[in-house]
Amino acid sequence: MSARRDPVEEWREVSAQAAAGGYRARARTVGRGMVGRSIGVVAFAVVALVAGLLVRALPTTGPAATPGGPVTASVEDANFRLTLTTPHGTYGPDDPIESVASVTYLGPKASETMYHAMRPMGFQIEEVDSKRAMGGGMDQPCLRTAVANGQSVSLPFEKAGAIADDPATGFDRAWYEDPVLRLPTGTWRIVAYLDVALGDCGGESHKLTVDNVIRVVDGATSSPTPAPSSPTAPASLSADAETALEIVRKYEDAFATDHAEQAWPLLSRWSKTVTGSSATFADAEHRWRATAGSPVIADPSRDPALLDPAFLGERAADIAASADLGRAYVVSVRRPEVDGAAAATENLVVAPTADGWRIWIDATAGRYGMWSYPDGCAAFELSPRRCDAVVDVAADNISYDRANASSVLLASDPGCGSDPLTDEIVLCTRSLSFVAGVVFESADGTSVRSDVFCGPGAPTLVCSDTPGIQIVDLHSGYWDVPCAGEAPDGCATPVPFPTGAAADVGRELRIASVDVPVGPIGHHEVVLGTAVLVNGIAQEGTFTVNDQLQDGFLLDPGIVRLELRSTIAGRPPFDNIYSRGTFDGPEEVRVFLVFDVAEASDSAVLHVQNVLVK
């Protein structure tokens, strides 16, 4: 019997052999950085303006490529939307290609001034799966363009870039000098980029990139194009394909307008069951779409490879059983790359059922609405630190040892037990707010879920990166309930307090303001001073930490407690007048602030104010 090899050593060899193929360059969308700054090194050839047809930009939420019709795509940030529209998806080699980019101001002001290089937008071209490219570029003076809120500035395609010596990598001088864009046969990605600053050149930077992919085919001509805003689909699509496309557009529009409840009824029963609940569906899709780019909906396809059960996965059997597979379409929804998330394609299946056309989502049962930890923390808008605290609390809530988890997943809102097979969005009535579900998976294949909520209680890191501080003090001292019954039926009143000379022996502690160093991690008991109580009766013991957040430190729990401790040996603690009783004469007490520090910077302090003990 041969000895088994060390898996690490085995992995070293196998991974080295597998990696031997190396990096293989492949065509991708080119996203140029701040062009006005970086393009200065580009050898400049010719900049020619194409006197092209200005095409009205499509809405952001409806980008789509139709075979003969326009190709359009949009992307936006908080201030601007960049839209690129190309009148056709397919051209012949002699056809002029009249792409137009437009930028729309979406920000909070009535108008805004964009500072930019020669123009606010530029263009690039890349051949898909090959090397020919027009790199783009422009001179870099600091110019400005004003744009009113909701208004657009459009710019037709213009050529700019370096003349290529090798026709396999770019274009020659004659091509650049021709103001009309024509391209050789192939598949081409036309890229528009916005590169502007607000305030001044070098000010707040806004960069957006968007692209259209078109094909140039021998013998093809660009057919007359319906207006981009025309709701009619091109005639080349069958009626079923048009229906499938319309269903997916409606589905995507529902999320774009923040109406997930309009998307839910479009789902097949299988999809609803996989998602678990309408609340989970709405929550999960919202989280994912918050970090994904604007969608581009591809043409419906009945490619046998896409409708193969091996490709469709778990949903294949349900589609075959509950829908007309012969009329099913795969509709791909592509989302461009955004920060923190890769470009992604979701392959929806749309098919007619007895209840009408429905969508089978691209999901895996048992994993829908889940993100792996820690990478999924961003989807839950949790900082790494806070996310870790959420997982800790989730484990504590079910007495689970995190070390036993082979993997941890963050899960969407579980909803409130509604029937997933209804079309209703059932709103949860909760006194707590959902933070995240946490699923701990063990190596033996079992898993356990713990949901974390926030609500009333001591401020914690789980509920905020900068939680507030809850103060616990004696309020206005001891109170009694001498009236019949307990409060609120009865009436609480202060404990009777001596007057006259007996009261003169008292000495209050009053501090207007003091900064208490938070200090190192651990339990802290900080002496604020002493007071003398009359007959051991606490009339008042209050303080504030006005409006302070735990910023630069973390208390666990998020509580600062004011405690009085008698300096007279044997006196009981201050809890209530009944168990403590009174004392004959003056009683000196030391006044403490008590708190537990979990994290702290060296300079962290508590801004304590209005201390009053008497």
Binding site: V8, A18, R32, G33, F311, E346, A363, D375, S406
Partner: protein, 161 residues
């Protein structure tokens, strides 16, 4: 005499040659799948290519590549698509059949470890990365790296008894 800085394209090429194996191995440790690892590593370098003109090539680029690879690997839709690719996409043609066969058994053994545990063990042992470097790539603390490596080694030891 001053030596001019290499062009971004040349700098990228050098990075691809020098760092490809490390990035591929990191992706393989996380995904435990030859196809996915190749896809993730290719994508990470492709993103570097798109940023080649804004990258400070005088600074180490490996950390950025590893973090990017991790983000790519855990992207939700890639995870969803992975179940489809198992059926649709064979391992990259560049990998010979013998290597694929060897990886089948190894993959099953390493599947008992979490991605974090695999990366913590393998990137330290094979690529010689420090706990700090691995932690930065995985987005966790060095303590968590060491804990993950410890748990992973314990699992491997248990498996081999």
């Amino acid at each position: 005499m001053t030596v001019p800085n290499p062009s971004p394209e040349a700098a990228f090429q050098r990075a691809a040659e020098e760092l490809w194996t490390t990035v591929y191995r990191f992706a393989l440790a996380i995904t435990n799948d030859l196809s996915d690892a190749d896809d993730v590593a290719q994508e990470a370098f492709a993103r570097l290519w798109t940023r080649r003109e804004s990258v400070d090539w005088n600074e180490p680029i490996l950390g950025w590549l590893l973090v990017t690879a991790r983000r790519i690997a855990v992207d939700r839709f890639r995870r969803l698509a992975r179940t489809l690719r198992f059926a649709a996409a064979p391992p990259p043609a560049a990998i010979d059949a013998h290597t694929i066969d060897r990886f089948v058994d190894l993959r099953a053994e390493l599947a008992r470890l979490s991605p974090r545990e695999r990366a913590s063990i393998l990137m330290a042992a094979v690529e010689g990365l420090s706990a700090e470097e691995i932690g930065a790539a995985l987005g966790i603390t060095t303590g968590a790296v060491r804990a993950a490596a410890s748990r992973g080694r314990a699992k491997l030891a248990t498996d081999r008894r």
